[in-house]
């Protein structure tokens, strides 16, 4: 018996060692320059007013934030301190007091204090006239921010909000220097001055961005790299060629499945691949003021026509989508359990039954067989174009005749905002998986509610889930909201969750994929094994 137990234990230990991530077995090594590809360039240098990863990827290593998302957490949902060393929450959940780290220095040598944190948050929450702040609406619950002393930063809320810590871990909320902001609130649009692990060296537009190791970084021993070079390449074929030729080591957004396969085939064990569900999703918006999409039976029929499970298996081989999901990324705290998901209209496994119901609903709504509609899609290859082809083929199965109109990327959002569509591909991409950050676009009054639905039930459920402090209670409300949004009213049609694929040279260590391409770009823990 004892011998058997010993054998089992030995096997278990061996399996555990094999299963342990390589990083855990390796010791970080100092030195080297990380070269990575960025498919987009920064429009300005000020993250508070930008929304493209083209800002985050090359520039995040120059900055710190108050909190950050744990760089080792694959779900990307655990807040940890960055500039904040620790924090306390008052009993009523209305006051968050953050202790600011001492010895944090800006790259010009001056010391960071809570005054800088307050100035940065003042700029985000109440930007001066003429200064844009893209995320101020996300902080409506904040009553005030204060810096009572150099080492303390206090956030007071109007009402308890469970998501506030994650919201304060936003990768966009870089801490700027108060004196520079006081002199010129636009200074950071064209200049760089942070406290991050790397200092700024140069930006050559259309070519590259270079940072070098900050020798005075507050997190002693980090960063491991001597520096980094971000090279701007928009063509995806050229990006693949750069990694394939080992001129670049990684691209932090995503490659498509065929691109991943090309790299794996070409580089063999020189390449490692990390994959994750992605907090991005394409959904179909239907204009509620245009017939017959004012009729929920028609909207439900369009959702019922989709064979999401077959689509998931097939499309995941050719484009950036994979999981069949509800309103939250699978594997995260508020994700829909698969059994519950299958109860929603269009998520059941019996596609013939779904499509028969869809045809019945269309007939009942007076929509004739062969009804023609125009589907407007965005002119971006992945995953818009394959999803568009898939949707059209699915809708054809219930007797709809769909013509696709591709709208050039820059004209796309103006088209949605004008409401110049019957049925259009829409898009949601979050930086942290959190209902308060992912779902506000479905509130009736939201500017991003392009389908223009008016639904006070949704509005009320959104309001209630945002204030529910009990996890289970919040989940329950979210399930109700999901059923209302995707099934009963079918205001929008969710397609498939995006899937993030990062093939990188195997020598790049210390970086963990998360569901957001906006997260984990400080590079402080990244190192090169050779």
């Amino acid at each position: 018996m004892q011998a058997r137990l010993a054998r089992v234990l030995t096997v278990a230990i061996v399996l555990l060692l094999v299963a342990m991530p390589a990083d855990a077995q390796d010791k970080p090594r100092h030195g080297g320059e990380l070269v990575f590809v960025v498919p987009s360039e920064p429009p300005s240098y000020d993250a508070h007013q930008e929304e493209t990863f083209g800002v985050i990827h090359p520039m995040a290593p120059h900055y710190n934030t108050l909190l950050r998302v744990d760089p080792n957490d694959r779900t990307g949902t655990k807040p940890v301190g960055d500039i904040a060393e620790s924090w306390t929450v008052s009993r009523d959940g209305l006051t968050y007091t953050f202790k600011i780290r001492r010895g944090v220095k800006f790259h010009d040598g001056s010391e960071l204090t809570s005054k800088d944190v307050k100035a940065s948050y003042d700029k985000i929450l109440k930007p001066p006239a003429g200064v844009k702040s893209l995320r101020k609406e996300a902080y409506e619950s904040i009553a005030s921010v204060d810096a009572p002393d150099a080492g303390t930063f206090v956030v007071k809320l109007k009402y308890p909000e469970p998501s506030i810590l994650l919201n304060l871990a936003s990768p966009w909320n870089w801490i700027y220097k108060a004196d520079l902001l006081a002199k010129d609130p636009h200074w950071y649009e064209k200049n760089v001055m942070g406290t991050g692990p790397f200092t700024f060296v140069e930006h050559v537009k259309g070519s590259h961005w270079v940072g070098k190791k900050n020798p005075n970084y507050w997190d002693k021993g980090k960063p491991y790299l001597d520096g980094y070079r971000a090279i701007f390449i928009s063509s995806s074929a050229a990006q693949v060629a750069a990694v394939r030729g080992e001129r670049a080591m990684i691209q932090f957004r995503s490659f498509s499945p065929p691109e991943r396969d090309q790299l794996v085939q070409a580089l063999g064990n020189k390449i490692a691949v990390q994959e994750s569900p992605w907090d991005c999703l394409n959904f179909v918006s239907m204009h509620h003021d245009k017939k017959p999409f004012d009729d929920k039976r028609v909207r439900r029929a369009l959702s019922l026509a989709l064979d999401r499970y077959e689509g998931s298996a097939a499309l995941s081989k050719i484009t950036l989508v994979k999981d069949v999901a509800g309103i939250q990324v699978p594997g995260t705290p508020y994700a829909t359990p698969p059994a519950e998901l299958e109860k929603l209209a269009g998520y059941g496994r019996d596609i013939n039954k779904n499509r028969a119901e869809a045809r019945r609903l269309l007939k009942e709504a007076g929509v004739a067989d062969g009804f023609s509609l125009v589907f407007k899609n965005r002119g971006i290859p992945h995953p818009y174009e394959p999803l568009g082809i898939w949707l059209i083929a699915q809708w054809k199965q219930i007797g709809l005749n769909v013509r696709q109109e591709i709208i050039e990327a820059s004209a796309y959002h103006p088209m949605l905002k004008r409401g110049d569509f019957e049925v259009a591909m829409d898009f949601q991409c979050g930086f942290i998986v959190e209902p308060d950050l992912d779902l506000p676009r479905f509130i009736s009054t939201s500017d991003a509610n392009y389908g223009r639905h008016k639904d006070t039930v949704i509005d009320d459920l959104m309001h209630r889930q945002g204030r529910a402090t009990d996890l289970e209670e919040r989940k329950k409300i979210l399930r109700q909201l999901e059923k209302r949004l995707l099934d009963e009213e079918a205001h929008v049609i969710y397609t498939l969750q995006w899937h993030r694929i990062i093939p990188h040279l195997a020598k790049v260590k210390g970086w963990t994929i998360t569901p957001s391409h906006y997260l984990n770009n400080q590079l402080d823990a990244v190192w090169l094994s050779e």
């Binding site: 090309q262 174009e385 568009g388 082809i389 013509r403 696709q404």
Partner: protein, 301 residues
């Protein structure tokens, strides 16, 4: 005073008896003397037949997605393989010929005809009309065909009628320029003076007496434009500005997944590429031979 009517020689107004026999003889002579042109013509005829009979010839619905047959190699079931959505490449090529011919013919016939009318009009009226029209044509001619077509599609949007319009516009000045030079010589012919003397209106002289006499350069331009238009449609579709998915179109078949799967599923790019090359080659061969056959100087050599 009675005015004697002078009989007006109208060269191409009425076909003489035995026209069919003469056409057949001319065709036979064309095939004998210009074998390559005849091969081009044969390919064009086959292309037309395929386009007309597409629903009969295609074994599959060109838009039908079949995930069970994704990226299938050429086989008995799918002679030219399938694409990344399991759609039969051969069926898409067959239906794609309709798109190519529709856009190609639409753009080149309209472009060459409007160009011919403007060219003849410009030559006939001369003076300031000619001067201003030619300067406008010069402006359009300064843009390469594909660049102007790209700009127009970007402005008009990318439906098939807009695509025809976008490819047609750059062809107008090219046609007008060539036809004008022929029309300038015809303007000086006695039968045009006679028509004027007989009191015919400008429209009648241009349309009934001058235009029929520039048919040779017109036909040559038309066949040359056909190949260009097919290539332009394929280029615009390849760039995502032409025909849109899921419509079958050769240029569209070359973009997106065809590039990404070029190494693992080369048939996705090879066959549409061959179809484009073959059709453009056929129209160019036929056009060149037609030019040689209709050019009296070359005919005598």
């Amino acid at each position: 005073m009675a005015i004697a009517r002078v009989p007006v020689p109208e060269a191409v107004e009425a076909a003489p008896p035995g026209a069919v026999a003469r056409w057949l003889a001319a065709t036979r002579e064309f095939c004998r003397a210009r074998t390559l042109g005849a091969v081009g013509a044969a390919v064009i005829v086959v292309m037309f037949a395929v386009a007309l009979l597409a629903p009969v010839l295609a074994a599959y619905d060109p838009e039908a997605v079949d995930f069970g047959a994704m990226l299938a190699r050429p086989s008995l079931a799918h002679w030219l393989g399938t694409d990344s959505f399991g759609r039969d490449v051969l069926s898409r090529l067959i239906f794609g010929s309709r798109t190519a011919l529709m856009v190609g013919f639409g753009a080149s016939v309209l472009g060459a005809t409007l160009g011919a009318i403007l060219g003849v009009g410009s030559a006939y009226f001369g003076g300031r009309v000619d001067l201003y029209l030619q300067r406008v044509m010069d402006v359009f001619l300064s843009f390469p065909l594909i660049v102007l077509a790209l700009a127009l599609v970007a402005i008009l949007g990318n439906s098939i009628p807009n695509l025809i319009m976008a490819i047609m516009v750059p062809m107008i000045p090219r046609s007008a320029l060539v036809i004008r030079s022929s029309a300038l010589a015809i303007r000086e012919m006695p039968f045009v003076d006679a028509a004027r003397a007989a009191g015919f209106g400008h429209a009648r002289i241009v349309l009934r007496h001058m235009l029929p006499n520039v048919m040779a350069p017109y036909l040559i331009m038309l066949t040359a434009f056909l190949g260009q238009a097919i290539l332009a449609e394929a280029s615009l579709s390849f760039l995502g500005l032409g025909v849109q998915e899921p419509t079958a179109a050769w240029g569209l078949m070359l973009r997106g997944a065809a590039v990404e799967f070029a190494e693992t599923a080369p048939w996705m790019a090879i066959f549409p590429g061959l179809a484009i090359s073959l059709s453009v080659f056929a129209f160019n061969l036929f056009g060149d031979s037609l030019r040689d056959a209709l050019d009296p100087r070359l005919r005598t050599q």
